[in-house]
């Protein structure tokens, strides 16, 4: 299936744009057409009202992303809504705010996930969200001056960052006040169990977690700014590799490729789609292996067996990917309109090597199941800990294995098909345990499905007629999408829904490039899962979320 556009002004099978407008009634002050969805412009003090109507009466229960941006004459927040049942039904709620005093109503009371998204918008753009429970900086340090993605920001002015927030927990007594029993515990940002540079502030009541707060931004590398200063055609593609860097490079590249191809009406040849699908699934396998290895590390402290087994499998997958793309980690293999080169010659060798590995995989997985999922020690640690009920997961916008481990049947590969997925035979794995164990199990079973997909792709590629091996369509050297064309498109990354919002301004660089990171939304659920649990269960819950800080902080 090629990347066909959904018509902008109709929403298939659901309500039409006009019906939605009717539902919103006089809240709508204007209409916009985004490439992916109809946009309804509303006044900044009716955000909650509008979102509540769309959620309760039209079924838009997934606030996928909040994009904020600044125009010459106004600020704007866009709420990208979807449905968990059918993510092809989308709607955008556009909220302009005053240039002088950008104030807009918070959506947090309607969708919990808006909490962090709006904090980020405040941090980077500078929009004030009224009624937000806790509006402060999220990615940049508290003492930062100015909002870096706003128009008048001067990047060269000095900044001062204090170390106060990193108080040494041993230095003074960290009990919160004299007659309370709780204790404050700092975990991270340099800590082996935080999967990178996450800082978790935990308040303990005895051995139980009374409250946790994740403090992020220790790896905020200005990915959005980087993409906004690069050209569509070639320069942006290397950056996605570095969002979710756990070998999930091709999946991320696909997110950008899909959005940019739809924005510029580029077709992708079928043959290239098969290669993409195969590469992406190999990446997913590698990413899930590391998730498994680090989870075992968190739960067992086992740096020996399981971790090493997982790395062994990753090495094998990376070898295949290296043959295909020329790199072990940062592939930069996709191009708009296809992929950069064909399979390596001799092709038979490549097929044989990949098949060889896939043949050995069931045995390896058996081993993992013996060591991990079939192990009662691990089961005791993970079954019924870190509970995340489906409604809660939805209100936080959780996606990927985290959502599927909570019984939410949501996978963009099937529900909003792209690439070659809908021609192939595979299943979406859903488990309804809602606990750490289910999330782990979902990932392990997904590896099997990915292997199944890769196998089918190999068969197809092998039989593909030699003169039809078209790896790239004709794409102009420079791309200049029309002014004010806006798009939001998502793919199923290793961690969940990875979305890109782009606004074109008639030049060869995007005017706004926003990344919707699945880990960012998933991480928000941590307090829900760990409050009231023991400290080690909190660590297990964090491990089962499988976050990667490059993607959380971007």
């Amino acid at each position: 299936m090629s990347l066909e556009e959904q018509l902008p002004d109709t929403v298939e099978e659901g309500q039409s744009a006009d019906e939605l407008a009717e539902l919103l009634g006089d809240l709508v002050i204007d209409r916009e057409d985004h490439v992916n969805a109809p946009g309804f412009v509303i006044r900044p003090d009716t955000v909650q009202d509008a979102l509540r109507r769309l959620r309760d009466d039209a079924g838009f229960d997934h606030l996928s992303c909040v994009t904020a941006q600044e125009y010459e004459d106004r600020y704007e927040s866009i709420y990208h809504l979807k449905k968990y049942d059918d993510p092809t039904q989308e709607a955008s709620v556009v909220v302009p705010a005053d240039k002088e005093h950008p104030v807009s109503q918070s959506a947090e009371p309607v969708f919990r996930t808006a909490d962090w998204h709006e904090r980020e918008a405040y941090d980077l753009i500078g929009i004030d969200y009224d009624e937000h429970p806790d509006l402060r900086r999220i990615l940049l340090p508290d003492t930062w001056q100015g909002h870096p993605l706003s128009m008048d920001y001067d990047q060269d002015r000095p900044q001062i960052v204090s170390l106060r927030e990193h108080a040494n927990p041993l230095q003074e007594d960290q009990r919160s006040d004299s007659d309370s029993d709780t204790m404050f515990l700092n975990i991270g940002p340099h800590h082996p169990a935080t999967h990178g540079v996450l800082h978790v502030k935990a308040t303990l009541d005895g051995e139980q977690v009374a409250d946790v707060e994740s403090d992020i931004g220790y790896l905020h590398r200005c990915e959005e700014q980087m993409c906004q200063t690069k050209t569509y055609r070639h320069q942006i593609m290397p950056y996605p590799d570095r969002w979710d860097y756990i070998s999930a490079g091709l999946l991320n590249e696909w997110a950008y490729a899909r959005a940019a191809e739809d924005l510029n009406d580029i077709e992708v040849p079928e043959y290239a789609q098969i290669i993409r699908t195969m590469g992406a699934e190999l990446c997913r396998m590698a990413a899930h292996f590391l998730a498994l290895g680090t989870f075992a590390l968190d739960v067992y402290g086992d740096f020996t067996a399981i971790f090493m087994y997982a790395v062994r499998d990753r090495e094998e997958v990376q070898n295949i990917l290296e043959d295909l793309t020329g790199q072990r980690l940062m592939f930069n293999y996709f191009r708009l309109g296809g992929v950069v080169w064909d399979l390596p010659e001799p092709r038979e060798e490549f097929f044989e090597m990949t098949r060889d590995y896939l043949d050995r995989l069931p045995e390896h997985l058996e081993e993992y199941h013996d060591l991990v999922t079939g192990n009662e020690i691990l089961q005791m640690r993970t079954v019924d800990t870190g509970i995340l009920p489906p409604e809660v997961a939805k209100s936080y916008g959780a996606t990927g294995p985290v959502a599927r481990g909570s019984g939410i049947d949501y996978d963009l590969r099937r529900d909003d098909p792209y690439g070659y997925y809908d021609e192939l035979d595979w299943d979406v794995i859903v488990k309804d345990g809602c606990d750490n164990y289910s999330r782990l199990l979902v990932r392990m079973l997904e590896v099997e499905q990915s292997a199944k997909i890769v196998e089918q792709c190999i068969d197809l590629l092998e039989d593909w007629p030699e003169d039809e091996r078209n790896i790239q369509s004709n794409v102009p050297r420079t791309l200049r999408p029309d002014d004010d064309k806006e798009i939001y498109r998502a793919v199923e990354g290793a961690k969940g829904e990875l979305g890109i919002y782009m606004r074109a301004d008639g030049t060869e660089k995007p005017a706004r490039f926003k990344i919707r990171s699945p880990c960012f939304s998933n991480l928000q659920t941590l307090p829900e899962m760990s409050n009231g649990e023991y400290v080690p269960d909190m660590i297990a819950a964090l491990g089962s979320l499988d976050i990667v800080l490059g993607e959380v902080d971007r």
């Binding site: 060269d156 900044q159 960052v161 170390l163 990178g196 790896l219 860097y245 980690l329």
Partner: protein
């Protein structure tokens, strides 16, 4: 392994042969380590204590388990099966900076993290060594123009070995570690570098516009790091 890494190995074939033979006489071959073969059975080694210590340091490096960004994935692969950094006497990552000799900096350093990294570095006991892994620690790498990115780890802490690449392959990291070992064993100290960004007390900063602005939020004895982005390369 190069002979430079064993600076104390003397040519014992002539001088010590007699003593050794005398001592070995009558013993069975239970004492047959290669060390004994190299040293002879004499309990004395003639070397400079400094040299000996350098050799010890180079041959037993404890790494700090320190992951930042994408490069740390390749670092983990280097520690794990296949590349197995342990073969080079440098494989056991320690979770606490107080037990580590070497810190590998695997990734992009941003404004919020730099003070923390400096703190971790300060907590390591002397002598300590730093390996900068990847372009990000050299210059900021692909993110050099970012508003929040430190243009190279050397702005914050001194670095002994730079390993270029984005990310460097595990083989490159192994090579870098081996190079560092060689340098340590040869007693070469790291060059002293200028560190533009220091942790200092807020009250000690020169008072200018930005300091005035923040005066209410920050106590004078709080530690802060001041970034003069305009002066960065």
């Amino acid at each position: 392994m190069s002979s430079q890494q064993h600076p104390f190995v003397t040519d014992d074939s002539k001088v010590l042969t007699e003593t050794r033979d005398a001592r070995l006489a009558g013993q069975d071959d239970r004492f047959n380590s290669r060390l004994r073969e190299a040293f002879g059975s004499t309990p004395f080694i003639l070397t400079k204590f400094d040299k000996f210590m350098n050799w010890v340091r180079g041959s037993s490096m404890f790494m700090l388990q320190f992951g930042i960004a994408c490069c740390s994935i390749e670092m983990m692969h280097t520690y794990a099966v296949k590349h197995d950094l342990d073969r080079f006497a440098a494989g056991v990552p320690r979770a606490s900076p107080r037990q580590a000799d070497v810190i590998i900096i695997p990734g992009t350093i941003v404004s919020k993290f730099a003070p923390r990294m400096k703190r971790v570095y300060d907590q390591m006991p002397e002598p300590k060594f730093v390996i900068g892994m990847g372009s990000c620690t050299i210059s900021g790498g692909p993110f050099q123009e970012g508003y929040n990115v430190i243009k190279g780890a050397e702005e914050v802490i001194p670095i002994d070995i730079h390993i270029p690449g984005c990310p460097p392959r595990p083989e490159a990291l192994v090579y870098g570690v081996a190079k560092l070992q060689e340098r340590i064993a040869n007693g070469e100290s790291s060059p002293v570098v200028v560190k533009p960004y220091e942790l200092e007390q807020f009250g000690d900063l020169e008072r200018d516009e930005i300091v005035e602005q923040l005066a209410e939020d920050i106590d004078t004895d709080d530690l802060v790091m001041r970034y003069n982005w305009g002066d960065s390369p």
